[in-house]
Amino acid sequence: MTTTTTAHSESPPLIPVRATGWRGGFRNLVRKEMGQWWTTRMWWVQTLLWVLLLNGITTAVMLDTGGMTGNEVLQETVQTFLLVAATAVGIGVVLTIQGAVVGEKELGTAAWVMSKPASRASFVLAKLIAHSVGFLVTAVIVPSIVFLVEARYLVSAPIDYGSFGIGVAVVGLSVVFYVILTIALGTMFKGRGPIAGIAVGFILAGQFFKGMLPLPLVMATPWLLGDVATSFAIGTQPDFNRSTPIIATVIGSVVLAGLALWRFEREEF
């Protein structure tokens, strides 16, 4: 409809949405998905969970110095924080949003939304954006700020904020990858089981097998992002090119997002 509709003599006229193509319904869906994060208890539950888990572990490391120097304690805690974050948040992402797409397909809300002038791309992209932002803020940024505050008071060595920030950004990339992976799997399967199994299995496989598999293969996965993040944050140089896992993860994320869009475009409700 392209005409303006008068809703009521005292009410200003309704202005029709102009977005067409893949942008159909995009703003509305992003707003709805964001609302699910920020207008429900989800944001504080997630924040509390990650602060307790990530900062709880690192606080224990900070307090139990065991004769280490301040600099050693700082390196130890930064490494623990970033490595645990890269893995644990990934698992948390999968467990939290495994039903983001499948749940809507099962419940019928996806079909309802798709009966409105909303594109399928908007539906998928809105979820990717909202969950990425949600986890980046509650599971990466807030715990990182808490970590910095703790480190300032509990560790005698000064922290390089810039390097730490780069490390946190790399962990953030890992989190975004797992958001995309989980959403992409949600577009491909009809039940939560395969989604959680594949995604958590992939994360755990990295933990168990990354030392056994050939390095070039491992570098093409996000499994090394925790190590890359740590090396940036504490200024060490690993025995591999740090940019390779980053580029591979970015490419992997783009490919998975493309697959998710392609698959959801073919979904039948």
């Binding site: 409809m1 509709t5 809703a7 009521h8 009410s11 200003p12 006229p13 309704l14 202005i15 029709p16 949405v17 102009r18 067409t20 193509g21 159909g24 319904g25 703003r27 509305n28 707003r31 709805k32 699910q36 429900t40 419940l107 019928g108 809300t109 079909a111 309802w112 798709m114 009966s115 409105k116 002038p117 909303a118 594109s119 039948e268 409700f269």
Partner: protein, 333 residues
């Protein structure tokens, strides 16, 4: 409004009526799930500003057909157009003009009824907020949910969800309302309200709805489309269906039944008669081959008899349930 005159669905039944360009037109529409044929080459049209009842037993393919029209599913054969737009290629443009109520409407449980309607409205309108809120209030009032507007839909009963579903389906002043079992979860009062809403909206929109409640269809529908086992049984004006295939008249009278029967059977165009008596009144059902002659002479010939008092005369109106069962049974055989 510029309209193009097209052939009526009734033409298949021999009528010469014409209707405006259809809002929905399905040609050879088919859908197969693996080896299962859910819909087999169905053809039907839905005329503008009409109410069309979409009938069929469970599993007949009604919901599948509706999903194909909305682009929620893709046809494996044939095509459908809505407003002249292709249901697959132009789905987004079609959905901007359609309101849809699913068979078992589900909403985001963390949203209240008001938030759900606001969310729905924002697919169609970018603002202003005051106008959207006003429209939301209007639709809440239309379905009688004002007092539950700020409750999360999680706690809604089936009937309340249905009402909310009807509200969200027409929030955009749709040119076409597609309702899948709109009255299924409602009590008799709710059902009556839904039918009233449909009748009110008739002037502004076209309504295509599936249902099992044949009384409702008979009450409000201009046209009826019947599916069975994924195949089209019939698509025709309700009136035509209720008239039946053969012209049949009923004469109810008090008096000498054998004399009436003799007078009726004396006409050469009377092909069949049957009688039944209730409380002293007799009804003769007369099938004729010449409607014009029957309308001119049938009643006159009975009233000419001295010992007979005619209390009712008219063309026999079938009950939709009878027609439906007859058609579906005939189709099955």
């Amino acid at each position: 409004m510029k309209t193009k005159v097209v052939q009526d669905q009734a033409s298949a039944l021999g009528s010469s009526r014409t209707v405006p360009e259809p809002v929905i037109s399905a040609v050879g529409l088919s859908k197969t799930f693996g080896q299962v044929e859910a819909l087999t080459e169905i053809d039907f049209t839905v005329p503008r500003n009409s109410i069309v009842g979409f009938l069929g037993p469970n599993g007949a393919g009604k919901t599948t057909a509706i999903k194909l029209l909305l682009g929620l599913s893709r046809p494996t054969g044939g095509k459908a157009t809505l407003f002249g737009l292709d249901s697959e290629r132009d789905s987004l443009a079609i959905r901007a003009r359609v309101g849809y109520l699913a068979q078992d409407p589900r909403f985001y449980t963390h949203l209240t009824a008001r938030e759900t309607l606001r969310f729905t409205a924002r697919f169609f309108y970018q603002g202003p907020k005051r106008a959207i809120d006003h429209r939301v209030e209007e639709t809440l009032a239309l379905v009688g949910l004002e007092d539950k507007a700020d409750r999360p839909t999680k706690g809604f009963s089936g009937g309340e969800r249905q009402r909310l579903g009807i509200a969200q389906a027409q929030i955009n002043y749709p040119d076409l309302l597609i309702l899948d079992e709109p009255a299924a979860a409602l009590d008799p009062v709710g059902r009556r309200d839904v039918l009233d809403v449909m009748e009110r909206l008739r002037a502004h929109t076209t309504i295509f709805y599936s249902t099992h409640i044949l009384d409702d269809v008979q009450r409000v529908s201009d046209y009826v489309t019947i599916l069975d086992h994924g195949r089209l049984v019939t698509s025709a004006p309700t009136e035509t269906l209720l008239d039946g295939d053969a012209a049949t008249y009923e004469i109810t009278f008090k008096g000498n039944a054998p004399a009436v029967l003799a007078a009726v059977r004396a006409h050469p165009w009377v092909s069949e008669t049957s009688t039944h008596s209730v409380n002293g009144a007799t009804t003769v059902t007369v099938s004729v081959s010449d409607e014009r002659a029957a309308e001119a002479d049938l009643l006159r010939s009975v009233m000419a008899l001295d010992e007979v008092v005619v209390t009712a005369f008219g063309r026999r109106q079938y009950n939709l349930e009878e027609v439906f069962l007859q058609l579906v049974k005939g189709h099955g055989e």
